[in-house]
């Protein structure tokens, strides 16, 4: 077929052009030896102003927390739009893959007893210690959601209550915005975490409202991802 050959030739040409452009980009990049002003400012201010040692969390949950709110909104839109997209259709050509039997099998069933506590503890740790070491709400929420997905695989018959999860997620979202308004009223601006006492740098209770925001974000992300996974389960 000539059409296929032309398609492959044009694709190869486009890819070669991209590869050339990329190689020029890599060649032109010089590794910097010092940070830019903005980054240096964040690294200086995050421990001073917010009393948060993890600067990335400081940026995500304080300086650019409005971005984070937008990202959570994107996740919410995905979870909401998957409902109508994956609804059963009137006259499908291909029937669905049959659901597996009730029993997931001995190995998976025993495995989920061994691994789920580990996954849960790790996710909770990543959420709660996000302001002190590597981690945060998004990452921990994703870990918790993998645990929930594992639960769905291990217990085929179990039904995740999508409505309850959506309600939890909406409630947490309202609390998130409420924290933001608290920041607007009692501190410098929307989602400013400094309306709670800053605490001592490096202690568990520190960083103003950042651990609280991190916890809310973790619950919200975990609930949203669980709804997405449950929708795909059909």
């Amino acid at each position: 077929m000539t059409g296929r050959t032309v398609h492959l030739g044009l694709s190869a040409l486009a890819l070669a052009g991209l590869a050339f452009a990329f190689s020029r980009l890599v060649g032109a990049h010089v590794e910097p030896t010092a940070l830019g002003q903005l980054a240096a400012g964040y690294i200086r201010l995050s421990p001073e102003e917010l009393s948060v040692p993890n600067v990335v969390t400081g940026i995500l949950l304080a300086y650019r927390s409005f971005d984070t709110l937008g990202e959570v909104a994107v996740l919410y839109m995905v979870a909401a739009s998957l409902g109508p997209l994956l609804q059963p259709m009137d006259n499908p050509v291909a029937s669905e893959t049959p659901r597996l039997s009730e029993n997931a099998g001995e190995i998976i069933h025993s495995g989920h007893f061994a691994l789920l506590p580990l996954i849960g503890v790790f996710g909770a740790y990543v959420i709660l210690f996000g302001h002190l070491s590597a981690g945060g709400g998004f990452q921990g929420g994703a870990i918790i959601a993998t645990g929930i997905e594992f639960y769905m695989i291990a217990r085929v018959a179990s039904a995740i209550n999508v409505k309850a999860f959506s309600a939890l997620e909406s409630g947490v979202g309202v609390l998130f915005v409420a924290v933001g308004v608290f920041g607007l009223v009692f501190a410098g601006g929307f989602l400013d975490p400094r309306f709670l006492p800053a605490g001592e740098l490096g202690h568990f209770v520190s960083g103003g409202a950042i651990p609280l925001v991190s916890l809310l974000l973790g619950i919200k992300v975990a609930a949203e991802l669980s709804v997405v996974l449950e929708r795909f389960r059909g």
Binding site: L15, F22, I43, P53, I59, A94, S133, A134, V228
Partner: protein
């Protein structure tokens, strides 16, 4: 022999993943493989964004007991942007997979040729 700079290694990896993803999108006829291609592009771009923020001899931007005044940190903004990119990548993957399932139900196949032929 001098070692390659860390950011160059990372950027070559990232751009390689992006190229691999685009080639999967362009060459394969199966929608699932195209979705994998999009996912590869996302991962590659996240790696490039982090690589651009690398500072020579830098460590993670987390202050702890080992931190001194001389400690060099990598750019924290790029790490924050990478988190954003990963979340958007997840959203793209979820939506494209949902459309793939819908198309499979409508046409009984995942081959894109079946969708273009019906238009002619």
């Amino acid at each position: 022999m001098t070692a390659l700079p860390v950011s160059t290694v990372l950027m070559v990896t990232g751009f390689g993943l992006v190229l691999l993803g685009y080639s999967a999108i362009l060459i394969h006829r199966n929608i699932l493989k195209m979705v994998i291609g999009f996912s590869l592009v996302d991962s590659g771009i996240a790696i490039i964004v982090v690589a651009l923020g690398y500072v020579q001899g830098g460590t993670a931007p987390i202050l702890d007991a080992d931190t001194t005044a001389a400690t060099v940190f990598v750019d924290p903004i790029n790490a924050a942007l990478a988190v954003t990119a990963i979340v958007i990548g997840f959203a793209v993957t979820a939506i494209t997979l949902a459309y793939a399932i819908r198309l499979y139900r409508l046409h009984g196949t995942l081959n894109v040729d079946a969708f273009t032929e019906s238009r002619e």
